[in-house]
Every structure is written in structure tokens, then in C-alpha cells.
Homo-oligomer: 357 residues x 2
Amino acid sequence: MTNTISGITIAVDCMGGDHCVSVTVPASLQFLSANPQARIVWVGLQEILHPYVQALPSSLQARVDIVYAQEVVAMDESPSAALKNRKQSSMRLAIEAVKNNQAQAVVSSGNTGALMAIARFVLRTIDGIERPAIATVMPSIKPQGTYMLDLGANVDSSAEHLLQFALMGSALVSAIECVERPSIGLLNIGEELIKGNEVVKQAAELMRQAHEDKLINFYGNVEGDDIFKATTDVVVCDGFVGNVALKTSEGLAQFVSHSLKAAFKQNLWSRLAGLIAMPVLKRFKQSMDHRRYNGACLLGLNGIVFKSHGSADTYAFQCALQRAYEAASHGLIERLKQSMPKAPATVSLVNSQEAGQ
Amino acid sequence: MTNTISGITIAVDCMGGDHCVSVTVPASLQFLSANPQARIVWVGLQEILHPYVQALPSSLQARVDIVYAQEVVAMDESPSAALKNRKQSSMRLAIEAVKNNQAQAVVSSGNTGALMAIARFVLRTIDGIERPAIATVMPSIKPQGTYMLDLGANVDSSAEHLLQFALMGSALVSAIECVERPSIGLLNIGEELIKGNEVVKQAAELMRQAHEDKLINFYGNVEGDDIFKATTDVVVCDGFVGNVALKTSEGLAQFVSHSLKAAFKQNLWSRLAGLIAMPVLKRFKQSMDHRRYNGACLLGLNGIVFKSHGSADTYAFQCALQRAYEAASHGLIERLKQSMPKAPATVSLVNSQEAGQ
């Protein structure tokens, strides 16, 4: 990851997530150590954040700004209530730091629905984007994993929306992973053209057109197992389908881990074998470590917004900060804007198709 | 699994799958040994099947009928071509054995699309069922796993279709697993009522109504990870979503297995640890063994049809035979028919809802 622009500042909603400042603050400090040119804005309640501010090493003081908030968005608060009532919350003020150019990206472990609603209201969507999407990285045989969107921000997506997700996913991977023409796969239930539901069939047509127009590098249809085979850099799908795929993967990973532990705990002999195999099992666990992939991007907004998992630990939160930093350093928003103006031509294709039915 | 009715016969399409008679024949023989009251109809090409017929132990001769076919449905043949042109195929004749009451169930490893098309044409759907569905078992923390449908027979399912899948899944689990009121979960992207797409929200309404009418035991919404947690006995979803969940799970399982092997092969020390841990790893592999779950049911037809995985080995194919045998022994078709007549009341609910919009 090269060509880093100096002077990138990340706004951190210090109050979000299950562990609040006990994770967000140390993760920020480790992130600053790892990225000597980066800066941080800490946003949080004064009574909670102040002790950490006072304890800040003098070497880092110039690289950390503080914004004190008056309230916190609860994890179970409805997005509309959070948008209406939490105008002085750490989440809102952290997003506003991006709006006001005080920061180039925001990272929060808070309530996803509220984050999307507030970010959408404060930052607005990029011209040409109707619906922001949530993109994340899934583990795969490639070290960088496979990017996937949408993960649940949109259900009942149209073919046109899926094309927008493809354009956004392409910009995201080119920014974060420095891949110039990331390959895009459309999630379907068969590789043959005839398969799939109506929306996916239409979306494939739009993407083929966008490929011919050199807007995206469209591979074609992919299936669920292609996510882990890294058949393409990006997998595009409706948010309902993507969320089911994500949760199913999480569930299976937990089940496998549970079964592996149970097998090694069955008797004295297997426990002994487990001790001997410990370093190997640890390496295996690391290769599967979902924390490395923490940091989902809310794509399509006029500003970079990353959502960390609510249960993220310090390492995982630092990964989300790093991902946001890469996106900001490599001009994600400019890339998104550049990829958009050419989209309307493909939108008219949908309309003419629908009219022809 | 008790109350087995004597005299159940299973028609076997001996020509299907990657391994043809080298799997279907020995699996049938093992199945007969394990089920002393069961009978088999072998359906296949004379030149290929005849040597096996001649080698049949005299003790089994009375329990195996033979039907010679003149052709085979190719794995890449289109369902419509197979339906039109393969009237003397092993697949078609095996299905016809069920139609003619020569057998109570058919098992094939052949072309899924062709099997669905031919079975639908020959057997017809049960009154009240608009679309047959494909149901399979996913591994879970419960020994019997979690039944899931639809797995790809239907895309763009309506709320009404999802209700029918729930009724059918309920009948299937009560027949195979002898669970009297299996719990039904509706696959969604959040447990809250407000989440999900329009079809799923409507389907949840219909299922709550069906629960009140004592037609099903509806648990409510479940998410992807609930499949492996065995939160419910059955998980119902549209075929597009179900197929993505299935393929994603298969892909992740392969990826995990690949990563675990790679970790144990990294150096001499890890290879040694792998040797010591071998019995434990073998037990773990067995607990994850997808072959145990082989045998997807084509549900909603006037006859029991099971699809084995094309790559099934002898053990896996025997599991599919056993599953078909349990379904036939416990009156799956009668259970399905009994659960259907009450459905029209709920269908009218959809119509009145749509009219009221």
C-alpha cells in the first residue's frame, strides 16, 4: 500500500461498541504508532475521555485532537430516533468532523442503523448513487480477502442498484488494495447465463454493458463458494442475500471452531495431542482470524465512514482504523466520484428494458 | 427412527452421478443389509448393470428387481430436452416405478434440473402445492442437523410459496426425524419484525397465522448463523437465498479444511504434530462429514424423490437411500397431503392483503 498522502486525520467515535474507550483509545494509539503521518480526532464524553487525554504521551499530543460530546447513541436505539435526538452524540460529532474537513474518515463501533442514517443525513450521497451500501472483506485464499457488498443496507435492490454497488466496490478495492481494475463477480446461483432471478439477470446485462464501456472489469456470475476461492476481487449482491451469506459464514465458522475444540477435548489423549498441536492450531486460528477483516465501509456517501464490529477488540479496531486510513490516503471519494458520471447511460438501459417487457 | 412399515421399495437410478454403478450398486447392497425389510429396484443400462445382477448373492435376489433402461440423461442436458427426449432413460423409468407403485421412493445422483422436470411431469404436484422445493439437511449442533428449503428450485418465491415451503418442511422433518411439531424459522436478516424484504415480511404474517391455526410450529425469524445453532428444526427461504447460503457454506468448509491442512503441512514439526493429532483430526472430520447429510428431497410431488450429490461415494449414496427409506416408511406423502387442505385459508389472506394495499 504505497503513495500514502500525508496529513490524513481519522475521527474516532470513542464511545461505540461493547468495550467503548477501553478498546477505541488503545487501538487509536497503536494506529498512530504504526502510521507516523496519521492524526486522530477523539470524540467522546468528557468525563470518560478526559483521563485518557491527560495520560496522552507528549510525543502524541500534537497528533490527537479532542471533541467532547454530550451524549451517546445507544446500541438498541432506532436509526430515526438517533438521527432526530442525538445531535450532540459522539457518533454524530465524529461524522460532522468529516463533513467539516476536520477529518478525512470516521470509524465507529456503534449502532449500524444509526450510523448509516446519521452519515447519510450529514454527508449526503455522492451524485449518481441512490442508495449507500455496506461493503466488507471476507476471508479467502488471497491475503487481501474478497470484498463483498451489499451486506444489508439495502433489501429489494434493483438491477441498477446492483450496478452501482459494482462501481462502488471497484472504486473501494482500487483505493484500499491498490488494484487498478478489480474484477467484479455477480452473486448468482449458477454460472450459466440462464440461471438466477430476474433482477440478477438484468444486473448481469447492465454489468456486461458497463464492462464494454470500460467502467468495470466484470467477470460474470459467481456462486457462494467463489467468495472464499477469491475468483473475483469483489462480489456484488443484494443486501438481503449478502447479509444471509455473511451470517451463514459466521455461523459455520463458529460451528467448526466449536467442533474442533470439542474433538481436542474429548479425552486425555486428545488433550495431549491438542497441547502438542497448539502452535499449529494457533497458526490456523490466525489464518482464519476474522479480526483482520474488521471494518465495513459505508459506501456511496460524500465522506469515508467505516463501521467496526461492536465486539471488536483493540487489534480488530486498529484494523478498521487502518482500512479507513488506506481508503482516505488513496482518495476513495475522488475515485467514487470519477466512476459515477458515466453511469446514467446504463440506467437508461434498464428503463428501456422495462418498457420493452 | 421407529414404526417402520414393512415392504418399502426404493427405485435406484443406477446410472446417475460421477461414479455410476460403482457407487450406486454397492451402496444399494449395503442399504439392503442394514434394512432387512427393504427392497430395491435397480434401473440402468443392461450392458452395464447385467454383470452386477449376475453377481447378486442368492440371499438378496428376492429383494432386488431389475428394470433395464435404454438411455441415460446426461449431466449437462437441459431439463426440457431430457423431459422430451429421454423417455426410456434410467432416471425416467426409476421415477415411473414410483408412479406405478412398484416403488415408494426414487433416489438419483443425476442431473438435478432434469430430475425435477421429469419428476414434476410424471408424478405431478400435490394439490395445494404450486411449486416443488428442494430440501436438504445442513450440519448443526444437533445430531440430525437443520433442514433447509428451498435450495434453488424456485427463485422469486412469493410469501405464499414460502408458507408452502414451511408446511412441506414441517411434514418432511416429522416423517424423517419423527419430530411431531418441528419448529420452523423464516430466514431473515434480523430478528426484529421490522427487518427483511417485503416478501419475507408478508411470509412472516402468513406463518404467524398458520401457527395460530396450528398448521405449523412457527418460531419466527432466524438469521444465517441459526442454521448451525439448530435454533429451529427447519429453516425456510427463497431458493436463490437458500442456494447462496448452501454454496457459501460449502465454500467456507472447503476453505477451512484447506487452511487446516496447510497449517499442519507447514514444516517438519507441524507435520509431526499432525501425525500425533491424526485420530483427533479424523474425529473432527467425521463430525463435519457432509456425506452424512447427503440426500436432498424434491418436496411437493405425488411421490418421494431424493437427489443424491453427483459426487457421492458409496457411504454418501447409502445415506441418501436411508433418508428416502425413512421418508417412505413414515408416510411423507400422506403427511404432506394432510397438511395441505387447510392451506387455502391462508392463501386468501395473501390475496386480501394484496387487494388492500
